[in-house]
Amino acid sequence: MDTFQIEVVTPEKLVLDQRAEFAEIPGKDGYIGVLAGHAALLGELGEGALKITAGGQIREITVSGGYVEVRDNHVRVLADKAG
């Protein structure tokens, strides 16, 4: 399965930077599902669980407030809080 790079950062630190096959991102106006090759997207982040699927494993991070950007097969989640 094709993968993409996903980064999650907060003002304090880089939370994660890894390859993933699928990500479920809590947008402000509803969840956004991202697969490899997703079109460029920019939106505000809501509150909720960010689910990242990589190698069959699902990792869950709680995020709140911030932005999400998808560009060139690269997802950047700029969260106010994550953990």
Binding site: E12, G43, E44
Partner: protein
């Protein structure tokens, strides 16, 4: 001529001082490493946010109804706020003095304007308060544990005042951390926001309207700038302190060497004198 005991006492006193400066240097070095790590850890977010702002601003200027965001509004600079970030403590060479000098020079150049100060750090506050400048906000003891919330709080008051047109421009004065041996004093304009240029505009799908995103992105951009300035200043202060204390320790070494040499000379002189006394005493008996 001072007696041997006097000189010995001085040597001992310098040695004690040297021990203190050496300890201060070590403490600063340990703290510096942590501060440096934190400053470094804050970089990815700042960089990404800046890029995002550039892209969103580009899109908003194309799709927007031509109305500029209040934080981008440019007015003639009549009422200026100076945000001065100094340290709470001294013993760091010219760290505080140089920055204060830069801010004071700016104030002198803008005598006809209405100046207000936001003082972060005790040294700057004391200086400008003594000279009866108008300090509208002071933040002391924020460097021990720099929090993002601290930056948010500071920025919120600034944004409120700017939106109410109580101030027309905001300038930031801060020591930027370069390397352990050097930091530079910098003066940057915070408001109105100078939007960074987009390197390669991207055709995004916007989940929310670009103007809406821009509206929440701008205050956050300021938060990050202040937060980064606080972290950099904290690291630069510790670096300056470490360097200053290292220099002090080396100076103490030099003083001790000089005093020891002098002490030996004095001792030699007194021995010579005693020999002469003995010899001439013996000669007188013959």
């Amino acid at each position: 001529m001072p007696s041997l005991i006097d000189i010995r006492r001085r040597v001992r006193s310098v040695k004690n001082t040297q021990q203190i400066t050496k300890a201060m240097k070590m403490v600063s070095a340990a703290k510096l490493r942590r501060a440096q790590e934190r400053a470094l850890a804050a970089r990815p977010y700042a960089k990404m946010l800046q890029q995002m702002l550039a892209n969103v601003a580009e899109a908003a200027s194309q799709s927007g109804d031509g109305e500029t965001h209040p934080l981008l509004a440019v007015r003639p600079e009549k009422k200026i706020l100076l945000v001065v970030i100094t340290a709470d403590g001294g013993l760091a060479g010219g760290f505080n003095a140089n920055l204060i000098k830069l801010a004071h020079r700016f104030a002198n150049d803008h005598k006809s304007d209405e100046l207000t100060f936001e003082a972060i750090g005790r040294k700057g506050r004391d200086y400008f308060r003594r000279r009866s400048f108008r300090i509208v906000g002071e933040h002391i003891d924020v460097f021990r544990n720099v929090k993002f919330e601290t930056a948010e709080k500071i920025v919120q008051t600034i944004i409120d005042r700017y939106a109410k047109a109580e101030i027309d421009a905001v300038y930031l004065f801060v020591n930027e951390f370069k390397t352990v041996m050097s930091s530079t004093i910098a003066q940057t304009r915070l408001l109105p926001v100078e939007v960074p240029k987009s390197a390669a505009p991207v055709d995004y799908i916007f989940e929310q309207k670009p103007e809406e995103i821009l509206g929440s992105l701008l205050p956050r951009y300021l938060n990050v700038q202040i937060y980064r300035a606080l972290l950099e200043s904290a690291a630069a202060y510790l670096a300056a302190r470490m360097t200053a204390m290292d220099a002090a320790t080396r100076n103490a070494d030099e003083v001790i060497d000089k005093l020891t040499l002098y002490m030996n000379r004095v001792r030699q002189a007194s021995i010579t004198r005693e020999i002469i006394e003995v010899v001439s005493g013996a000669a007188a008996l013959e």
